[in-house]
């Protein structure tokens, strides 16, 4: 009895969570005429791609998608690499003063971007990187790696010492130990980090809004957010824009589902 009550309440919860997605999808495929007569709740008569095509062309959505892929992909790879290096030194190497270094990384990740934005904007201008993807990639690599360092250091702090000892006795260098032992065994955690870094960077809004001014550099969220701010679209085009913003997120989610479910902990090691 109670099991089924729990099951149904969870299904209800899932329905509430999914409702906005369903609404967006339904309305993105309506024609403006259908929308104005039937409102947002009627089922569409058929699938009209009018709103989606109009919106796609208006913002050159393909270009925005590519910008987002380049920025998020580069950040995820670079930030995982930097995090592994940092956490290797701090968690396994236990370098002197590691607690304070770790605090510095934690602070770096918790600092609000508002307290960095003007200097970053200014410095990017000074070094000629303002309004470039590279500036955004470097900045988010550091921000994400700061979190990754914090998380990975505690994971690697509990890394089985016997394995490290064994590698050392076999004559492995630090680099070989890292690449052949620590990284492969930590792969579930690294996979999760990669996924989170990718999604977080993809979703970033504030710094890209400030740093990526020109149309051809904007990411998906920035392009959509800026357009929404101008409130110049009709209802079908707005839902089409929302759908186009939602789809990539769902695609990654389906691709990365396995990495996500592997969980944050590297408990698999034990």
């Amino acid at each position: 009895m109670r099991r089924h009550a729990v099951l149904w309440s969870m299904i209800l919860l899932a329905a509430v969570m999914l409702a906005p997605f369903v609404l967006v999808a339904l309305n993105a495929v309506k024609t403006p005429a259908e929308y104005s007569t039937g409102g947002p709740l009627d089922l569409p008569d058929g699938i009209s791609l009018e709103g989606i095509v109009a919106f796609w062309e208006r913002v050159d959505f393909g270009e925005k998608l590519w910008n987002s892929v380049v920025i998020s992909g580069s950040v995820a790879v670079l930030a995982v690499v930097v995090s592994v290096f940092n956490a290797y030194a701090l968690g396994i190497g236990r370098v002197r003063g590691r607690l304070w270094i770790l605090v510095a990384f934690l602070v770096a990740n918790t600092l609000p971007q508002e307290a960095l934005v003007y200097p970053l904007y200014f410095l990017a201008n000074e070094v000629g990187l303002y309004d470039t993807k590279l500036a955004v990639i470097v900045i988010f690599t550091v921000i994400q790696a700061a979190f990754g360092t914090y998380l990975l250091t505690s994971t690697l702090g509990g890394f089985p010492r016997e394995l490290l000892e064994a590698a050392r006795i076999d004559g492995a260098t630090k680099w070989q130990t890292l690449v052949r032992i620590v990284v492969p065994i930590s792969r579930p955690t690294l996979g999760v980090l990669f996924v989170f870094f990718f999604i977080w960077t993809w979703n970033e809004f504030f710094l890209p809004l400030v740093l990526l001014i020109s149309n051809e550099n904007q990411t998906v969220p920035v392009a959509l957010g800026v357009l929404q701010g101008q409130r110049m679209m009709d209802a079908t085009m707005t839902s089409a824009s929302a759908l186009l913003g939602v789809i990539p997120a769902i695609v990654f989610f389906l691709i990365f589902q396995r990495a996500l479910t592997r969980g944050i902990t590297a408990g698999a090691v034990k």
């Binding site: 099991r3 099951l7 299904i11 969570m17 999914l18 906005p20 997605f21 609404l23 967006v24 409102g39 947002p40 709740l41 930097v82 290096f85 030194a89 701090l90 190497g93 370098v95 510095a104 990384f105 934690l106 602070v107 600092l111 609000p112 971007q113 508002e114 307290a115 960095l116 934005v117 003007y118 200097p119 970053l120 200014f122 410095l123 470097v138 790696a145 630090k174 890292l178 999604i199 993809w202 979703n203 809004f205 809004l209 400030v210 969220p221 959509l224 957010g225 929404q228 701010g229 209802a235 839902s239 824009s241 929302a242 913003g245 939602v246 997120a249 990654f252 996500l260 479910t261 902990t265």
Partner: protein
């Protein structure tokens, strides 16, 4: 054979791995933050030479009603993004893990978890667009639903009413946020040794008893991490405010992050904006310190 003791040689070579991360941290975070603090002590429009004014910006903040209101609104966002999601997340994660996972299979649990988590993978700006369309006063889906079931009186101008807008934003943020604790807590619950639950069950503990005395204490590290990261995220919230309300109507949803953005790029009062950002930073760092303290004590 080297004459340097192995432990020292180890330290030195491990230190090399910190160099790239350390330099990047310096260039992108530490130096810019120091610059921000410096700018907050000046009056500067963003062009020309900043004029040193000492603590003037901070004394001005003290009597700035907009600034204080923005912090009050932020408290609401902490409730919506940290406290409620953590509480709901614990119950949902336990329900999925203990009931759905055990009695209906882990596949069902995974699918339901995915549904709850989905808003988390959505760009927060896109979530804002989705919701501003659903919450539109005239033909928005929410009001249409209310009218369709005969609750016309409950239809509202959700984002346009100054008394309501903050609560509406809180609701949207709760929807966005709740999946994050669910995923983290379920991972944590997977880590808990099942024999602890079995022992408690043999001792006659009810499900709630086991939830409070076994599950929650066992996943305390996860709870602290979630509370810390969500509180900080709530204090930094910018995109949903930008997209949903632009701090309006009448400043009723303004938050410090948006207020500093306004000062930087709309009002060109860069020094003042930097002061707002610095105060926000101090608050966030204090919170981080308190949380870490509590967490350390918990672990000891």
């Amino acid at each position: 054979m080297s004459l340097v003791p192995a432990s020292i040689r180890d330290r030195g070579s491990y230190l090399l791995f910190l160099i790239p991360g350390g330099l990047l941290l310096l260039a992108v975070i530490l130096v810019p933050f120091a610059m921000n603090v410096g700018i907050s002590l000046t009056e500067w429009s963003g062009a020309g030479t900043p004029e040193w004014v000492g603590l003037d910006n901070y004394t001005r903040l003290m009597s700035d009603g907009t600034f204080w209101a923005s912090f009050r609104h932020n408290v609401g966002l902490v409730v919506a993004m940290a406290i409620l999601p953590t509480l709901a997340g614990l119950v949902i994660a336990a329900a999925l893990f203990d009931f759905i996972g055990k009695h209906f299979g882990s596949r069902h649990a995974a699918v339901l978890r995915a549904c709850v988590y989905l808003p988390q993978v959505l760009p927060i700006a896109v979530a804002g667009i989705v919701w501003s369309w659903i919450l539109a006063p005239r033909d928005g889906a929410l009001n249409e639903v209310l009218r369709a079931v005969g609750l016309d009186a409950l239809a509202q101008n959700w984002l346009g009413d100054p008394d309501l807008a903050l609560f509406t934003v809180m609701g949207v943020l709760l929807w966005i946020q709740v999946g994050y604790p669910v995923v983290i807590f379920m991972a944590g619950m997977g880590r808990v040794d099942p024999s602890l639950h079995e022992a408690a069950e043999l001792d006659g503990a009810s499900w709630w008893g086991r939830f409070f005395h076994v599950t929650v204490p066992q996943i305390r590290p996860e709870i602290f991490v979630v509370l810390l990261t969500c509180t900080i995220a709530a204090l930094k919230v910018f995109a949903p405010i930008y997209v949903l309300t632009r701090g309006g109507p009448g400043g009723s949803t303004n938050v410090p992050s948006y207020y500093s953005f306004q000062n930087f790029f709309e009002k060109t009062q860069v020094g003042y904006g930097a002061a707002v950002a610095t105060v926000l930073t101090v608050l966030i760092l204090l919170l981080t310190a308190v949380f870490l303290r509590v967490q350390n004590r918990g672990e000891r």
